[in-house]
Structures are given as structure tokens and as C-alpha cells.
Amino acid sequence: MTSAIFNARAAISPRSVKRPRVLVVEDEVIVAMDFEQRLKRLGYTVAGVAHDGRQAITKTAEGNPELILMDINLGGGMSGIESAVTIRQRHDVPVIYVTAYSDPDTVRRAAQSDPFGYILKPFEDRELETAIQVGMVKHEMEHRLRESEQRFNATLTSIADGLIATKADGRIAFFNPSAEKITGWIQPDALGRVLGEVFPLADDGTHGQGTDFFSSFTLPGMLPGSSRTASLRRRDGVQIPVEYRAAHIHNDNCQLTGVVISFSDIRGRREAEARILRTQEELKRAHDHLMHKHEELQKFYHTVSHELKTPLTSGREFVSLVLEGLGGPVTETQKDYLGIARESCDQMRTCINDMLDVTRLETGKMSIELNPGCVGELVTRVVSMLKPAASRRKIQLSCEVQPDVPHIPMDETRIAQVLTNLLNNALKFTPEGGRISVTVSCPPAQPGEVLISVADTGRGIPRENLNRIFDRLYQVRDADAASCKGLGLGLFICRELVSLHGGAIRVESEPGKGSTFFVTLPVAPRRRLRALVVDDEADIREGLQLMLEAENYSVTLAADGREALEQVRREKPDVVITDLVMPGRTGPELLKGIRHYCGSVPVLVYTGHPESDLLASTLKSPPVFFLRKPCDPARLLRTVRNAIKVAGHVFAN
């Protein structure tokens, strides 16, 4: 409203004054001529003059006037009002009545025909000018409003959502084609009816209470723009699920003048949702079923392996007994044959264990226990175990270990398994007279890692197979792979075991020349071991400190029992090396205190005076180790290491 007034003022301002072409309808010729002259004087163009109502209609059609000045009382059987009504029906031209009569009846009749102005004769030029300009603005505004309404209507009619608008009394005032489609009502039947009759919603279990769109100023439980779902009973009685939004319409005085509801049929969506739900349930059932089967299969694997291993045990053992001559004299040929039989038993054992390892790896049930160990020693041991097999096949098997390789956390059994596997593969694919070399080193380029390499002079691996050989069940398929056997699990197991150690395995190979497998294992950040040295003699304390620090221990010192106990509490050492007879507190008392504050930390009693009663009472607080003074550094360090290892205290804390 405010903006409309503003627009009207703007339109009347001199700058925007528009001078329309005017049709004058006046049955008195003199008066008509006077109008014409006045209009021309004011700068208007006269589109024509009509002398009766019918002529006015014709001239409007022919002359395209932009405004009509219409006398009400016309001769010729048709009043100005009748003529104006007809013109307004056919043309979009504003009509201003000009009349000498202002009796209430005439005014009422004229008002009903929706005129754009009303001038009483006689009038001044200024009055005429004002009436014309106001009429023009009014017409323009009406035109704009109509266009906007048409646009709005077209939009609401064409949208896919159903739309219903009501008046304040709840009766339907607007009903679009989509609403027809969804509700089954047609617009002529729906208009004027109460909303609840045409649009009856029932709770579908999501919105709790009946829907009264007028019950309160804001719709119950509904945020502006938020949607809800409900069940709509269509005109044919069928219930369908709908999603709807509702908004109140307020006038400028904040009075509720109606409600607009937009809604859509969500049967399709509901069906899709139900389908997804069904699919999900089916998938879950299938998954559960598979998991169940998988567990059954796991159990089956274990049973099978148990049942295979038992006869294999007696088979292998009796072969061994005969081979060893415990069943009577054996010829060399028989020994050879029995040796092969026993090797076959061992291969079968490997197969069964591989199968079990894979099932455990795949179910994440493989657990490894990491303890600090020497890779070099382990590799040397494994290599020496396979030397006989290599020399039988006239393959030169060598092993080279870099001397300063640090201890790393590893599961020795599992790393040995990896190495055995790699070496057995190398033996399998290397021809007689070939070479297999194993190295253990700390490559400068890979700090913090220990590298084990196993290189052979076998026939190599074709490039296209290089990245597949660690896959589960991958088997070399070659025309000349006569020696190929096994389940194709070995390298998969190797990769998984190495990765459980936080390491990696890779291969380089040149067909015809050989392959090299590289295993890298991380050297875990080794925490410095803490040692507490307790002795009342400063020389001994410092001697021990030097010795231990040279071996990378962090050392704290205490001169008597009291101090020692405090250090134990504060430093939480990995090992305590203590004298037995000291001021402040005797050894056994100290030990009791240590057990109280520091649990099972190993205590090494380093004493020159073996007093049997004291020694005996220390034994009540294990783990305790004894070392007699004096003792050479190597032995002392060995004992300290051993004490820590036996007590299993390294990875505690």
C-alpha cells in the first residue's frame, strides 16, 4: 500500500506526466467541442469524439484511445455507464465519467462500473487535468497488479506441488491443478469448501496430533518452511502419504486472513524408502549369513587341520623311526626313499600351517608378540638350518650380516617364518649351481630401518606378475614351472607378517637372471633403559655408572637405602643394582620398599659379603639376581640385560 501511494505521487510529478490520447464521448456537440479545445489547450491529443454509447464502442475499437471521457447521460438508448462497461470488457482503457448529475443513485451506478475518475460539470481545466492524471496512474497500477496476479497464478497453476489457499474463515479460495491431481477434487467443487473437508489429514505416526491450521497464530510444532508428513484421505477415500508445508497469511494489521498449504504426494518416495530399507535388511541378513558361514568355515579349517596333522604325526614319526634304524637295518636306497617321504610330510605340514595362518591373518586373529631381538642372529640361524637343503641341490647359500645392526622389536618365530618362506621359494626356483645370498644391513638411505635381502639366481619373475606375487592364492603359472607347488599363500603370509611388524616387503626381478626380495623392518624408537645404582662406596657407584652409560643406560645413583628408595619412587628404573649392606636401610628392607613402590622391577644384588641370612630374606622379594663383587664388566652387563629380560620389565610402564 505504502509503495503504491509512493508510485502514484511519482507518476503525477511533472517530469513523468503522460498525455494520453483521449476519446471524448458527449452527445451535446457544443459541449464536446469545448472538451476538445480544453484538452488540446492542456496538451492532450483527442483521439476522436463520439456522440452516443454505441459510437463510443466503435471509436474505441478503431481509434485506440488511451483514456475515455464519458458523459453518463447519452442519447441514443445506451447510457454512458452501459457503454463504459462494454468497453471495459473489451478493451483495457480507463474511463472517467463526466456528468452534471451527482445524485446518489447515479454515483452508485457509476461506481459499480469500476470507473477511473469522476468529474462534475462544470469544471475547471485544472480539475480535468488532475482527474485525467489520477485516472492514468490508477489504470497503470491496476494494469501492473493484474500482470503480477497473472504471473503469480500461472506459477501456482503450473507447479508440481499441490497448493491450497483459504480465506480467514477456512474456506478454500485457491486450488491449483496439482492439488486436483493429488486430492482427487476438482477446483470448482473445492472452492468455497472448508479446508478440512477437501484436505483431510490424518496422523501417519509422525506428527502426533490432528492438524488445525487455524488453531494458533503459528502452526503447532511447525517452523516456517519446515515440512511434515501425514496421511491424506483423497476424495475417493484412498489414503495416501503426503508431505506438506503451511503458512499463515496476514494482512497489514497482522490479522490472519488465510492459510496457504503446499503439499506433495510422497508415495513414490515412500516406496523408494521402503525398497532401500528392504534392501538394507536383505544385505544385513546376507552379511550375517556370510559371517556365520565364515565362522563355520574357520572352525572347519581348524578341525580339518587337526585331523590332518594327527595322522601326519604318526606317519612322519614312523618314517623317522625306520629311517633312524630303530626298526632294523636300512639300506642307503631305503634311507633316500624314506628321506623323501619325510620331506613330503614336512611340506604337508607347511601347507596346513599356511592355510591356518591365512585364515587367522584374514580375520585379524593373528597376534604377534614383539620383543627386542637381533635380526642378524635370527637370519644366520635360519640360513644355517636351510644349508643342508641348499647343498643337496648344489646351490651356494651365503649370509652376510652387517655387524652393528641394532636390536629391533620383532616376533622371532614370525620373522623366521618369513625368512624360511623366502628362502624356500628361492631354493625352489633356483637351478642347480645357482646362488642365494642373504644380507642384513642398516642402509644409510633408510635410517631407522633394518633391511633383509634375499637374492637368488633363479629364473626371475615376469614384470607383469611382479605386483601380484604377494596376492593371496597367486601361483606362478609357467610352462616350465615343474617345481611349482604349494597353495600360493607363502608370499601373502610374508607380506602380512612383515606388515604386522610395521615393515614392508618388495621384490626386484629380472627374468632369466634372478629375483631379490627386500624386507624392511622398523627399528622402534628404543627407550633408554634406566638403571639405579645403590652403593655406599663412591668408587663402585661411579665405576658402575661408567660401565652402564657406555651401554646407553641412563643411570641414577644412590648412596644409601633411604636415598635409593626415593630414587626408585621418582625414576621408576628398569633395573636396580644394589649392595646388600648399607647405612640407612638394609638390603631386604630396601627390597620391600622397592616392591612396594616399583612393582616387579628386577633387582641385581651386587655384593662382596655374602651374608647368608640377608641373602635368604631378599629371596622373598623376587625377581632378584645375584652377582659377586668384583666382577668383570662384560659379565655384569650380561647379567643386567638378562635380569631385565627375564623380569619382562622392558615394555612395561
Binding site: H302, S305, H306, K309, T310, P311, L312, T313, S314, G315, R316, E317, F318, S320, L321, E324, L326, C345, R349, N353, L356, R360, K365, S367
Partner: protein
């Protein structure tokens, strides 16, 4: 000196036979029990010097069997385990119970015999250590 007595508790007759043959040929006296009940009787009446037990046995598992014997006052008899089972924690359980050796089937007879000898003659093993000054 009398031959040392070894109680073998193993339900598979072939494996039991293999063990018996191996141990007897090494000069041991073998009491072969097919299950824990007979094993228990042997243990009480014959006072074996060593028990070698399987784990998967008909009425109770080998470790339970050993635990029972220990509760019944036979705690000082050393025992060894041979098993075809491949379960996590089995080795740890056996070791915590005090097993002197643990063999997975198929075991190597010669190694088993070595372990038996070491268990039954700890002095010979310890004496080598004591030669060190």
C-alpha cells in the same frame, strides 16, 4: 638304575604308538593312556617321572588334566605338551602351567627326545653351565 617312567596321554593310537616306540627305543619305560582318566590312574599308581600330554583329549583338555594332577598333589612331576591345535594363547597357557617343552604336531621325534632327556636329566645340562668360572 631303573628305567625312568614316562606317562603318555594321547588319544590317537597311531601317534601314541609312535611316541611309545620312540621313547622305548631310547630306553624309557612308557605308560600309554588313551585319555585323562586312565592317565590320572597311571599318574597316581605308577608315579611317572615325566608326563607327555596331548591337548585335545576326549573328556578334558590336556592342560586341565595337568592342572588337576597338580591340585591333587602331583605338582612336582614335570610335563610336556604335544598338540595338533593351533590356537593363540595355548603355548602361553602351557608355559604358565610349567610345561618344560611344547611341540606342535607333526613334531620331530629327535627333538622331542632331546627335550625329554633334558627334562629328565637337568644335571647334565646344568653341569655344562657350571664349568664356566
Amino acid at each position: 638304575m631303573n628305567a625312568r617312567k614316562i606317562l603318555v596321554v594321547e588319544d590317537d593310537p597311531q601317534v601314541s604308538a609312535a611316541l611309545t616306540t620312540r621313547l622305548r627305543s631310547a630306553g624309557y619305560d612308557v605308560l600309554a593312556a588313551p585319555g585323562p582318566h586312565i592317565g590320572e590312574n597311571f599318574a597316581r599308581l605308577q608315579k611317572p617321572d615325566l608326563i607327555i600330554t596331548d591337548i585335545m583329549l576326549p573328556t578334558m583338555d590336556g592342560l586341565t588334566f595337568v592342572r588337576k594332577l597338580k591340585q591333587d598333589g602331583l605338582s612336582d612331576v614335570p610335563f610336556m605338551v604335544i598338540t595338533a591345535s593351533y590356537q593363540d594363547g595355548l603355548w602361553e597357557s602351557a608355559m604358565n602351567l610349567g610345561a618344560t617343552a611344547y611341540f606342535e604336531k607333526p613334531y620331530d621325534g629327535a627333538n622331542l627326545l632331546l627335550a625329554v632327556n633334558e627334562t629328565l636329566n637337568p644335571k647334565s645340562a646344568a653341569s655344562t653351565e657350571r664349568t664356566e668360572p
